[in-house]
Symmetry: C2
Subunit: 323 residues, 2 copies
């Protein structure tokens, strides 16, 4: 049995708790949170204070870190990797090289293993970009996201004066995906690829027209997109917008010779983004435990991990049944 | 530069020659064929007799074996792996364990590397089955093929008395794929998943109705499918059916918790099956050369190869640009 601890218990941590129930070779030893453990309502696993985690050194095979990329993981992953093997889903793309270097140093100095930036993007989407570009060196890669909630854009809406609450969906333009798949070569702007749909609850006294204008012209977040704004009640927001669907497409269109077109498409349709991300983390936790057993220490990403390390099935059976 | 030889020069071998032109870190040193080299019309690379290959021991990094799975590869791959690192696209699923064992023994005894059964199925489809099943342990995997030419079924048509020539396309039932993606749980028979479409040129004096009956009732090949038979002229066959398109879909539908559905889809649309398969072989040839350099000897499959080994781009750049 691979002994696993969950660090951080929001939507992602809860998703990991659920995913572990589907993996018979793993045992959840505890959930560690910064909150008072008595206020952490798990689905069955014992909750502990994060401060108690270091006493478990040597008793946990992998810690699955479920904090946020903005402030938690840049500190937690290097720090916990000094004592434990770790997995995270660090997704601030621009800071991945720096994060990797910090975690790699901690892992190598302390003979531990960390697999960073797992999940689906970065993670499975990255893998598909790598495989597809290696196989079709002459071509174009496109990544589309959605339909799904963007936390960053939802937060940007909520920071507007006069907005009581809001949620933003990123929606890929499927007709563009279909044209690319059909072999068209398109020069795509930001506006061509995605649509942004906002559901906004106004604060008392706020004015629809002014708020809408502020949204659609907001630099970086909305000005380069076609943006649809709906004003709804707090009740409607609570009733209709609690699910966390997401997904997206990685498309590689390439040419193998003269005009011979080849298309590789990878597509995710997720009813729960955090539960799916959690399932990816758990599969890579298995790989992490194996790397540690083999004393392959350091920081790694999905690019480094042989696919078979994700499976609980033995190699000969994989070759027989899945190859 | 990775020095590559092509062994066997049919459609796949020609595809490899073309793919190598797109990979600046590889050098094609020669094409080895059982035919008289003066009759082998390459696109520029020198052609040699297969018997001359063994004199090149030590001068070639990887031999890409482009023979057939029925009779060539079961003999060639273990034999050539005694002297060279090799890649093949052995695709007789039921015999993969035996083939793997033979090649593994040759590779380990002679300190070489062989990556067998690369291509797209087995190959990329296998990888996607493995990743998807590891991430969503609770679910169903479906593989659909086509639209594309099945050589086995085309050969079966040609063996019928009264058939002068023929080609068979396997066509996936897209409406079934859409229903599965929409979350339906379906018990699918063979007939539900694929359609078979045959284009047949009759021999002189043969009778349409009798041939059609023989086709649609042929055990193993057609009797379990809805089969459409068209009778066409030799000229039409030559004009309209020389392209070698193929493709298909690997679909994993799973549940992460209670009723939360998640769908992973991998889809290929190939204008040239042999050129695409060749492109996969070439990417794995790079991995093969690296395993050899690292003295990781033995037989391997796509399941064993860290994804980054397929790319000519260095690790830090991959993390920065593709993760």
């Amino acid at each position: 049995m691979i002994k696993v601890a969950i660090v951080g218990y929001g939507n992602l941590g809860r998703g990991v708790e659920r995913a572990l129930q589907q993996n018979a070779d793993m045992e959840l030893v505890g959930i560690y949170s910064r909150r008072d453990p008595s206020t952490v309502h798990t689905e069955g696993a014992p909750a502990y204070a994060l401060a108690e985690l270091e006493q478990q050194k040597g008793k946990i095979d992998v810690c699955i870190l479920c904090g946020g990329s903005a402030t938690d993981l840049p500190v937690q992953t290097p720090s916990l990797t000094k004592d434990f093997n770790t997995i995270d889903s660090f997704d601030t793309h621009a800071k991945i090289p720096e994060h990797f270097a910090n975690v790699d140093q901690a892992a190598k100095e302390n003979q531990t293993v960390s697999i960073i930036s797992t999940g689906w993007d970065p993670g499975l989407f990255s893998l598909n970009r790598l495989y597809a570009e290696s196989i079709l060196p002459k071509g174009e890669t496109y990544t589309f996201w959605g339909k799904g909630v963007s936390q960053g854009h939802s937060d940007a809406l909520r920071r507007i004066n006069g907005v009581a609450d809001a949620i933003q969906y990123t929606i890929p333009k499927n007709e563009v995906i279909e044209r690319l798949k059909a072999g068209e070569t398109l020069e795509l702007t930001t506006r061509d690829k995605h649509l942004r749909e906002c559901f906004v609850v106004l604060a008392d006294g706020a004015e629809e027209a002014a708020i809408k204008e502020e949204i659609v012209t907001m630099p970086n977040y909305f000005d380069e997109y076609d943006t649809i704004v709906h004003f709804i009640s707090a009740e409607d927001l609570a009733r209709d917008h609690q699910a966390m669907p997401h997904g997206g497409t990685v498309l590689r269109t390439g040419i193998t010779h003269e005009q011979t077109k080849q298309v590789i498409e990878y597509n995710l349709q997720l009813e729960s983004n955090p539960e799916f991300t959690a399932s990816v983390l758990v599969a890579y936790a298995r790989a992490c435990a194996r790397f540690a057993k083999e004393e392959q220490f350091g920081a790694f990403t999905v690019f480094d991990i042989p696919p078979k390390y994700l499976s609980s099935v033995e190699d000969a059976t994989l070759r027989k049944e899945l190859l």
